[in-house]
């Protein structure tokens, strides 16, 4: 029995996604790191709260690999609450009564911002794998166009977890004069060999699915659901920890008293992973998954600064706060510490907190009180220096 059925070949994307759109026409293409150009293109974004008169209270939230711009409120595709509902909202650590929160879908994504599932105006067909390969810096370049468009001279804070942390670092390194504070959470200054390896497994799973059709599944009216589900299942394990998996599932059997001596989902953990895989394919585009994982693999902040990470932060006035989690083995504390060392080497203003949690990499998405207190405290301290009014 296959983990994911192939009955429904196409994802039914909502006709009109809620939120704002910023479109650049063919006369304003964006040049990418690869040398290719993308255009026309659209950036889909959400905002919460009110931009103050000085335009000094904007916080940009960068999402992770499979995240999106819907940080709070009901998700238009899944109907579930936004991915950072614990952290963002009125009275929450990222207080929408005090800050103007911006979150955009990354370039190459599949929830409104131009990506491989969108139609290439030159051919009239979806881009598929003819979409140019993008990098974290390209994502940040697109976000900067959005921030320019919103008339914000200096972001109060750029934050995000995992791939969001990479974007926050890239922001602070590329546009230090446009960022007051940066909070990279559970991130790294470069993607490790192990993480590239995991991503490669996911990509191979997608590309091995015959329904992938060399990337042209949208033209063929298919969807590589099984491949994408397997990619998600493998990745999902890396987001958890051994302790968390054991606590949640142990060796419990799924709706049965004894093992069936077959390959059905006997164990709860198998059933859980299959569920994770099958729900993921309802909301994510397989080619987007290929492109975004590639962007993470290519990320190595030191490379564009002559191979020395401290150079990325030299002379920076940005206030940094790095946060890692003890149970995170995908982006372990050592990765954050390496960034802290680079920041210390240029005597940058840096805070660094390791939060005790056994919930793995996903801890940054979960309600961890110590984490929330830390972020809130750091932002309060920065707000005081930035002269933001207390609410």
């Amino acid at each position: 029995m296959s983990a994911v059925s192939t009955d429904a070949p196409k994802i039914t994307w909502p006709a009109e996604l809620p939120g704002h759109r910023l479109t650049f026409d063919a006369s304003q293409p964006m040049r990418l790191d690869s040398g290719a150009e993308v255009g026309p293109f659209t950036i889909a974004y959400q905002t919460h709260g009110t931009l103050n008169a000085e335009r000094s209270n904007a916080i940009l939230i960068c999402h992770a690999l499979t995240g999106d711009q819907y940080v709070i409120g009901q998700h238009p595709v899944t109907g579930k609450p936004g991915w950072w509902q614990f952290m963002v909202g009125p009275g929450k650590p990222i207080d929408t009564d005090r800050y103007f929160v911006i979150s955009s879908n990354v370039l190459g994504g599949c929830l409104g911002t131009t990506g491989p599932k969108d139609v290439n105006p030159a051919t009239g067909c979806p881009y598929g794998t003819s979409f140019p390969v993008i990098t974290i810096a390209d994502m940040v370049r697109a976000q900067k166009l959005l921030i320019d468009h919103l008339g914000i001279e200096k972001l109060f804070c750029v934050t995000g977890g995992s791939m969001g942390a990479m974007q926050a670092l890239q922001w602070a390194a590329s546009y230090p004069e446009r960022v007051f504070a940066a909070v990279p959470i559970a991130g790294a200054a470069r993607h490790s060999a192990q993480n590239i390896a995991f991503h490669e497994v996911g990509r191979q799973a997608i590309m091995a699915d015959p329904d992938w059709c060399e990337g042209d599944y949208l033209i063929e009216g298919k969807n590589p659901r099984r491949g994408l589900a397997v990619a998600r299942m493998a990745a999902h394990i890396t987001y958890l920890s051994e302790t968390a998996l054991h606590r949640k599932f142990g060796r419990n059997l799924q709706d049965r008293q004894k093992v069936t001596y077959g390959f059905d989902a006997d164990f709860e953990v198998e059933s859980y992973l299959r569920h994770q895989g099958s729900t993921f394919v309802e909301r994510f585009d397989a080619n987007s998954y290929l492109y975004i994982t590639r962007a993470m693999d290519y990320f190595d902040l030191a490379v564009e600064f002559g191979g020395a990470l401290p150079n990325a932060f030299r002379g920076s006035k940005v206030r940094y706060c790095l946060i890692s989690f003890t149970g995170d083995w995908l982006f372990p504390t050592s990765e954050s510490r390496a960034i802290v060392q680079a920041l210390n080497a240029v005597a940058a203003n840096v805070s660094f907190v390791e939060i005790k949690s056994d919930k793995g990499h996903d801890a940054f998405l979960l309600d961890e009180p110590e984490f929330a207190k830390t972020l809130n405290g750091f932002l309060n301290g920065c707000a005081e220096h930035r002269g933001l009014a207390r609410r």
Binding site: A347, S351, N376, N380, C382
Partner: protein
């Protein structure tokens, strides 16, 4: 959740911390090594408008500091000081932490490398109550500042005021100011001979700066001492150490 105050009411801080704070010029760049829960750093940031950073080895301390809006990292004085570039700070503070470090000599050298001035405070092992306990009771001293029994004490390198002054001299570090404090927090007058301060003071605060190269004493005996890693000040130096090592204030 509650919106926490980043600014605590300006409560009085510990006497030795107050003396340290008084040594810091307003608006300077400060690194507080072993900043604990951030009481001193918070005071300096809000009362002296310094650009303050901290390093703390205990996770709870770091979290408390960052939660209160202070720039503090989780780190270890024994390992992380060489990450910083030279002259990165105007003041670096090591308050009651020197005796906890694995290599106090290296740490001291790093302090005066990364900063113009170093402020170091430590409990004085030459304090008469400490000597008394060891001499008469034959037991490892447990006092207000050396408050752990020997088997749990983090104080792996306690020293006396004289020891510290000698180490500074050997390393060519200049003692700009020295304030010795009695048990009640009274400053011991600068006229007091160093040997007597060493007996009376429960703790001391030193303001240090980069000085001249270490002075070498010639002679066969001095060379033998140097090879053995011991300091050999010579008779005249020993006299001066006893009576004149204290800087003028």
């Amino acid at each position: 959740m509650n919106r926490m105050s980043t600014r605590r009411p300006s409560t009085p801080i510990r006497i030795d911390l107050q003396i340290i704070a008084d040594m810091v010029k307003p608006g300077s760049r400060v690194l507080d090594i072993g900043c604990g829960d951030g009481a001193l750093l918070d005071h300096l940031v809000h009362e002296k408008q310094v650009d303050g950073r901290g390093i703390e080895i205990k996770q709870e301390g770091v979290n408390a500091c960052v939660t209160h809006g202070l720039s503090v990292i989780h780190g270890d004085a024994d390992e992380d000081l060489d990450d910083y570039p030279s002259d990165a700070f105007d003041y670096v503070i090591l308050s009651r932490t020197l005796q906890n470090t694995r290599d106090p000599r290296w740490v001291l050298g790093e302090l005066v490398r990364i900063s113009q001035h170093a402020i170091v405070s430590f409990p004085n092992f030459g304090y008469w109550r400490v000597r008394w306990q060891l001499l008469l009771r034959g037991r490892m001293p447990v006092t207000a500042l050396f408050d752990d029994p020997w088997h749990t004490s983090p104080n792996i390198h306690p020293c006396t005021i004289l020891d510290f002054a000698v180490l500074c001299r050997d390393m060519g570090i200049k003692i700009t100011r020295q304030i010795s404090l009695t048990k009640t927090g009274q400053k011991i007058g600068p006229w007091m001979p160093q040997a007597l301060s060493n007996l009376m003071a429960e703790q001391a605060v030193f303001l240090l700066s980069r000085g001249n190269r270490p002075r070498f004493v010639s002679g066969r005996l001095a060379r033998a001492h140097r090879r053995a890693g011991r300091s050999f000040p010579g008779f005249a130096w020993r006299l001066r150490r006893r009576f004149a090592c204290r800087p003028r204030q």
